[in-house]
């Protein structure tokens, strides 16, 4: 029996002798990169200190990013970041990204060329699965996993079953990869891929840009998946060519690889989507949203904070105004994205339209800062979760959408499709 892409990457990283590897096996693997942020690193650092190990296994393979509550939103957050920067200095960690250099971690790491195909990445952030877009096996873990990983370079994993999702057909106007993944989550449910690795395949995903692939891999966790992988191809190589000199193996799933299930999706039937509160699987076509008045729009995050996303937003906002009842907050995912958007005139377009533009941060996505919702308020957001209270008060509501719907909704003051405002 052949092996899936995930199984091949895991087999290449296994510690010690193991003749064959099957789904369900508990294995120990060596990792290529370990990630933590200003929320998860402080606990990891505390737990690391309990191990009695002085030095981390490799200062080049640990990445610390201050992105969630940074720029520090309050004194406690400042202290969390301080714990992280002191540790980074003491351990000579060069990949420590603080304000001025930092971006949202899952926008930043690929941009910095820190992940290549075939890598095994663990990160104390659930959206670590984003790097699956590069053909890496990347998965979210906890702070204690990071502590032990920093000491040994190893992690324990259960080999996941793999499921395959095949996308075929022609995408409609204004439909983005965000709509494909929202539709997929609506179809399989928030635990539809629980404990499993998703392989995103088919002609449609082969044609997606890296930004589009990152968006889809990012939300694999919203279907409960352990990882969400794309095969690496010429698009991947072109993206990496400008970003790293590292050589990397290219793994492909065997033709007779075993999948626990296969889902086929005709993208021609998918319209721009919205996930209604309070669970990402509560998806419907934006056109069928009804009259949902909104108070805030957020465009950004590890899901949709890349240059391509801001380019689409600028196309919608150009020559138009944000509705007087709406606060529109646009957050470039990294300094590089911000600078490129500035040079291309997108930032001017946003500010002229009446939107606020922020330095990179996860901020509002998790109700941290930079756009927290009051009781009864509603937001359309290009982020990834709409759990009760996710962006603020437990009586607020979050509607997840792609960039075109978010931008159109900011202009209309209610959930809208782009055709309604761009006519």
């Amino acid at each position: 029996m052949g092996h899936t892409l995930s199984e091949k990457i895991l087999a290449a990283h296994i510690v010690g002798e193991q003749a064959s590897l099957r789904p369900g096996d508990l294995i120990e693997v060596g990792v290529d990169l370990i990630l933590a942020n200003d929320i998860t690193a402080p606990i990891a650092i505390r737990e690391f200190s309990r191990l009695g190990v002085e030095k981390i296994f490799d200062p080049e393979k640990v990445v610390l990013v201050a992105d969630h509550f940074a720029p520090n939103k309050d004194i406690s957050s400042a202290e969390q970041c301080l714990i992280m920067s002191r540790f980074a200095n003491a351990q000579n960690i060069s990949h420590h990204y603080a304000v001025g250099k930092m971006g949202i971690e899952h926008v930043l790491l690929p941009e910095q060329g820190l992940v290549v195909p075939g890598d095994l990445v663990v990160g104390a952030d659930s959206h670590t699965c984003t790097y699956g877009a590069l053909g890496a096996f990347a998965t979210g873990v906890g702070s204690t996993d990071v502590a032990v990983g920093m000491a040994s370079g190893c992690a324990w994993l259960r080999v996941p079953e793999s499921m395959r999702i095949i996308y075929r057909g022609q995408m409609r106007p204004w439909v983005t990869s965000k709509d494909l993944i929202l539709h997929t989550i609506g179809k399989i449910g928030v635990d539809g891929a629980r404990y499993r690795a998703i392989e995103f395949v088919g002609p449609v995903v082969d044609g997606l840009s890296m930004a589009g692939r990152f968006t889809m891999a990012n939300m694999a966790i919203e279907a409960g998946a352990k990882a969400g992988l794309f095969r690496s191809d010429t698009t991947t190589r072109a993206y990496l060519a400008q970003r790293t000199n590292r050589s990397y193996p290219v793994y492909h799933a065997d033709p007779d690889a075993e999948y626990s299930s296969t889902v086929e999706i005709d993208v021609g039937r998918i319209e721009p989507q919205v996930a209604f509160p309070h669970i990402p699987e509560n998806v419907r076509a934006a056109r069928d949203a009804g009259d949902v008045k909104i108070d805030q729009v957020v465009i950004g995050s590890c899901t949709n904070g890349r240059l391509e996303d801001l380019c689409i937003a600028a196309d919608v906002f150009r020559g138009r105004k944000v509705h007087s009842d709406v606060r529109c907050i646009i957050i470039p995912g990294s300094q590089e994205v911000y600078l490129s958007a500035l040079r291309r005139g997108f930032i001017e377009t946003f500010i002229t339209a009446g939107a606020a533009v922020s330095t990179p941060t996860c901020g509002p996505c998790l109700g941290g800062h930079m756009g927290v919702l009051a009781s009864g308020e509603r937001a359309v957001s290009t982020t990834n979760r709409n759990f009760r209270g996710r962006m603020g008060d437990p009586a607020s509501e979050v509607y997840l959408a792609g960039v075109p719907v978010a931008a159109a909704s900011a202009i209309a003051g209610r959930i809208a499709v782009p055709e309604e405002v761009t006519r």
């Binding site: 873990v141 906890g142 032990v148 040994s152 759990f387 996710r390």
Partner: protein, 173 residues
Amino acid sequence: MSAEGRAWKYGDNVDTDAIIPARYLNSSDPTELASHCMEGIDKEFARGMERGDIIVAGENFGCGSSREHAPLAIKEAGVGCVIAKSFARIFYRNALNIGLVILESVPVVEETKPGDRLEFDLATGWITNLTRNRSYQAVSYPPFMQELLAEGGLIEYTRKRIAAGRLPSCASR
């Protein structure tokens, strides 16, 4: 390890924002986190629960974020164990890594009413509903996970490996 306590019952897809809202993540102090345990879904829990009480929930408990603050808040609050039909995978590993007992059992969840007294024995995997006088066998753990829980978590397990000179180093990879 065994314990007895009252059941606090919740539905499917209890997410990590419900267990510990992100606004409290500017602290990693377990006591502080415990004081907000389950606040996103049940404001009465942290005040009303007693040491040893048991959380009983449906499918996909702990879905969402990787925040270890979630199992940490539950453990520090004194919850005896969490019994669910299924767990989200990051929550599952985080719970084992920090030594919070979690058990999977569909019938226990379906047949337990809020306030029932439950008892569990980790060694045997038996859960007893003392109120209804029924016993159930939870889904069993693989040996590695049993060992993790027996040691009290991944840090204790790893310390033992280090002491025995059994920690693999992947630094040379």
